[in-house]
Amino acid sequence: MLAKRIIPCLDIKDGRTVKGVNFVNLRDAGDPVELGSAYSEQGADELVFLDITATHEKRKTMSELARSIARHLNIPFTIGGGITSTLDADAMLAAGADKVSINSAAVRNPALIDELALNFGSQFVVLAVDARQMDGEWIVHLNGGRIPTELRLFDWVKEAENRGAGEILFTSMDHDGTKAGFALEATARISEMLSIPVIASGGAGNMEHFKDVFTTGKADAGLAASIFHFHEVDIPDLKGYLKSEGIVVR
């Protein structure tokens, strides 16, 4: 059976892990490659690296990062956080990235999804979308949830699928950071509407939240950052728990 995926997300700035991560036995807890390897050893199914560096040299630093991750990790990873063109994406593929995630750049220029899917295949293109509810309507936001757009979440993810996105990474800004659980209804609606996999993000606070997002939320994968980084939930425990709840995990 196809397993539900657990995906830790690492924020990277200038080639270093940003959010405080506290692993025992790591020589350098700020080294994305060493951290990624530690998560891989623990049973993470994939990794997402979000580069939040803001420099003119961005493509070069991201591509160097992708290269060193690909060299050392034997599980799939996605890199995102500044890919705005086919050239950017091509540099990531050449460096060994398995997938790229695009977010605001795709909202500003939806044809980017088509271009990337055509050039590199849908499997390479993860459409990340940040949304929150405004007057009962899920609205797509830009720049980490700060700027509302005119786009409705469910219209946008459908359009993204039609344009060739291979996967949706949906973050509920209403749930992100609350540790009160994922946005189950919205995630389930996206998952039912689309035939591509959906990664749920935002709100994970305990192991039960993952069970909920895989059952009620119908997600294909669950992503979280701080609860893994701060050992509030450890991946081996999480997988053991999910197995005991009858959910297929690796």
Binding site: M1, L2, A3, K4, R5, S40, D45, R67, A70, R71, H72, N74, I75, P76, L93, A94, A95, G96, D98, F120, G121, S122, Q123, F124, G166, E167, L194, S195, I196, P197, D220, A221, R250
Partner: protein, 194 residues
């Protein structure tokens, strides 16, 4: 020396890195004489069948691959192109393994592509021995090869399909052996040790 066939098909760098991690001496090449002279050949692939077949023909690599006699490993679309025909844009393939490549038809609301970790069953081939039964490997694909006489392992998604194929010196995995964690490394090492 291991030749990894270079024909503009996707994540070739990951395959090279995986070989590097295993300490193998690999070169990325589209040079027919280097490929023919290699001890083993790896034929990776990500992409659409007709386009990737065209890339092979443009480099006259289609005939080179058919005539290889050393152990050769097709990965993902590399495996599909070793077959006779793919439903993906009605594409005649290399015909090394007389099998057809078909598109997944969801039986129970399964999503297409089949993306993620799934289990190996009915492991038979040297690549899957000793005993990788029940182990998870990483898949990303929308087309599959039916379980048949050349299948060396089986995975189920919507229906049972070939996780691996083997005919003569040609071996293949539908999953991404280079991205399948320690299990993938064992399978790749088994190939390198042939």
């Amino acid at each position: 020396m291991i030749a990894v066939i270079d024909y503009n098909a996707g994540n070739i760098q990951s395959v090279l890195f995986a070989l590097e991690r295993l300490g193998a001496n690999a070169v990325l090449t589209s040079d027919p004489s280097v490929i023919r002279g290699a001890e083993k050949v790896i034929f990776p692939g990500v992409g659409e069948a007709s386009t990737t077949m065209q890339h092979l023909r443009d480099r006259q690599l289609d005939e080179v691959i058919r005539q290889l006699t050393q152990p050769t490993l097709g990965i993902c679309v590399g495996m599909q192109l070793l077959c006779a025909y793919s439903e993906e844009n009605d594409t005649p393939c290399l015909g090394v393994i007389p099998q057809k490549v078909q598109r997944f038809v969801p039986q129970n609301g399964e999503k297409v592509p089949h993306m993620g970790w799934n289990t190996l069953q009915n492991c038979q081939d040297v690549l899957f021995m000793p005993d990788l039964e029940g182990e998870y490997v990483y898949y990303v694909h929308s087309y599959f090869v039916e379980n048949g006489p050349f299948s060396t392992a089986v995975t189920e998604y919507a229906q049972p399909f070939s996780a691996g194929l083997q005919k003569d010196n040609f071996y293949a995995t539908q999953f991404h052996v280079e991205k399948s964690g320690k299990v993938g490394e064992r399978i790749l090492r088994n190939f390198l040790n042939l």
